[in-house]
Symmetry: none
Subunit: 324 residues, 2 copies
């Protein structure tokens, strides 16, 4: 049983690096925070280091400011930790530069729920049926016989909420609800958490949403719906890139839409990010994989290079059209 | 125990009228459908009659078309039923004209979760801690030892989803999640249910939302946020006026917003509709009243006349600024 091996490895080590994927979202960040907190309660040292900052929507999470960014580290040499725990990450490459901090003989614990996880760890606990990595951290706390603190419950609940879209996506299982039942018993302000994660937007981000949706497009049959986020829109609105994180929900909710796409210009010319959301019939993980990306069957993403936005759009839509 | 009394009353009667409140929403309709189905499985006759039609968002629910509207009844005499079950209704008056179908000596069973329920029934089962009346119908099914069918599970799940805002409002309890865990075990398409109840918009309406949000404005301190829906936007998007119904939620969710306003041009020149949403601190009912409108403290509306949109905006904002 992989969970037991994780517990063994935790008990045997003292100084932990905890990291998650680049561009972390709620599940990555929430799982990381809960993991660090549990380790500290076991008397361990635990340092959270990520390449990218947490999304703005997660800044309310208790402990979030103790996540260190790789670029802010003074000492970037490897080997300061005697164990690395990587959460919510399908491959070790996905932690980005943080990989450089892991010494050659430092054991790596891989805790993840991605279908595409490549079992990169020395200890691998990959539960592809878990709705969120947060669910797995909950299970780990049980195995460690630690009753969750309110803060830990909040971070795990948030992780689950993000990855299940508030218990609506098909990854939500009976177990997810049983875990939620226990978590909310700790007295969480569910509505406040929901608003932070999904709803409250800055004025600038709301304006940006308007600009993005004003350019919404669809295929002739209406099955493919997509939007663009351009640098011009960012400038005009004054919003930041990561405030647009959840915008893909809007094309996704268009009646008749089977595949939703969210194109974004990046700082690098000719480099575009694409997020995909699909309905049951479509495996968007496969589509993203064709461009070197990945994720889940219903939600995935990739980065592509193209001469210009039009070209990027054309290339990606061609693949999507094949699948729809 | 009131639940036992409900079960006794059900066992003793044969021909049931099932009704819910006027302007029924998801909990009323879902509870009614599940109740009727359970009764039929017990070999009873059960007729659902409401004064108002179910909301469009609920038209996907199995069995919804078997709800009869009062106005469509040929025979409006009282006494055709030997028992009436009223669900999700705080007072008997709230079922509207359907009340006239209940004979003077027909026993009334009151199943509800409203704090304000006035115990109007001959048998009253009022659980003010239940997140939804649907939760209570779930419990009733247990007591009747009927395992829910997939259709019943779907109607009860929908009832709960609506009243908890997908498990986010503070009425959501550990029990709510435990019930959800059991319901989704029947193989529900949670995402489809969520989309029907909360989210799906037409392509045109999503485009319209973009146009509306592109014109979002705020007061200097950010406490008042407003948007306009113009006839030009309607024309450009091809969406209909009532598809914009929920748009006010967007300015309302802007961080720091205390009062949100939604201005709309009407077919009459110089006549504008205004919707208001306020935070706890502000009584928007008072503001709307100044212009001859009304509503609740947190949600209200009014119609105003002005020479042009600018003038309408100025007049209303002046009153709002006083209150904020």
């Amino acid at each position: 049983m992989s969970l037991s091996k994780v517990v063994d490895a935790i008990r045997r080590h003292k100084r932990f690096l905890i990291s998650a994927h680049i561009d972390p979202e709620g599940d990555a960040v929430g799982s990381q925070l809960a993991m660090a907190s549990l380790l500290k309660r076991l008397g361990k040292k635990a340092v959270m280091i990520d390449e990218d900052p947490p999304p703005t929507s997660c800044m309310f999470l208790p402990g979030i400011r103790s996540i260190t960014l790789y670029k802010d580290l003074k000492d970037k040499r490897a080997g300061k930790f005697d164990c690395a725990i990587i959460v919510d990450c399908p491959t070790l490459e996905r932690i980005g530069k943080v990989k450089g901090l892991i010494g050659g003989d430092t054991p790596v614990i891989n805790i993840d729920h991605h279908v595409s996880n490549d079992m990169f760890g020395d200890v691998n606990w990959v539960d592809r049926k878990a709705a969120a990595t947060g669910e797995m951290i909950f299970e780990l706390s049980k195995k460690l016989r630690l009753r969750l603190t309110r803060d830990e419950a909040e971070t795990i609940y948030s992780a689950i909420l993000i990855d299940t879209g508030s218990f609506r996506y098909s990854n939500t299982s009976a177990k997810t609800h049983m875990i939620a039942a226990e978590l909310i018993g700790e007295g969480l302000d569910m509505n406040a958490i929901y608003e932070h994660l999904f709803e409250l937007r800055s004025f600038q981000a709301t304006y940006l949403l308007g600009l993005v949706l004003s350019g919404i497009k669809k295929s002739r049959d209406g099955k493919i719906v997509w939007v663009w986020l351009t640098k011009r829109m960012l400038k005009e609105s004054g919003a930041s890139f990561d405030e647009a994180e959840n915008f893909i929900g809007m094309p996704r909710s268009v009646k008749g839409c089977k595949a939703a796409l969210f194109f974004r210009e990046t700082d690098k010319k000719g480099v575009y990010k694409v997020s995909f959301r699909g309905s049951k019939e479509i495996d968007v993980n496969k589509i993203a994989s064709k461009f070197g990306g990945g994720g889940h069957a219903r939600a995935s993403g990739c980065t592509i290079k193209a001469a210009n936005p039009k070209q990027a759009e054309k290339t990606v839509l061609k693949e999507v059209a094949k699948a729809v």
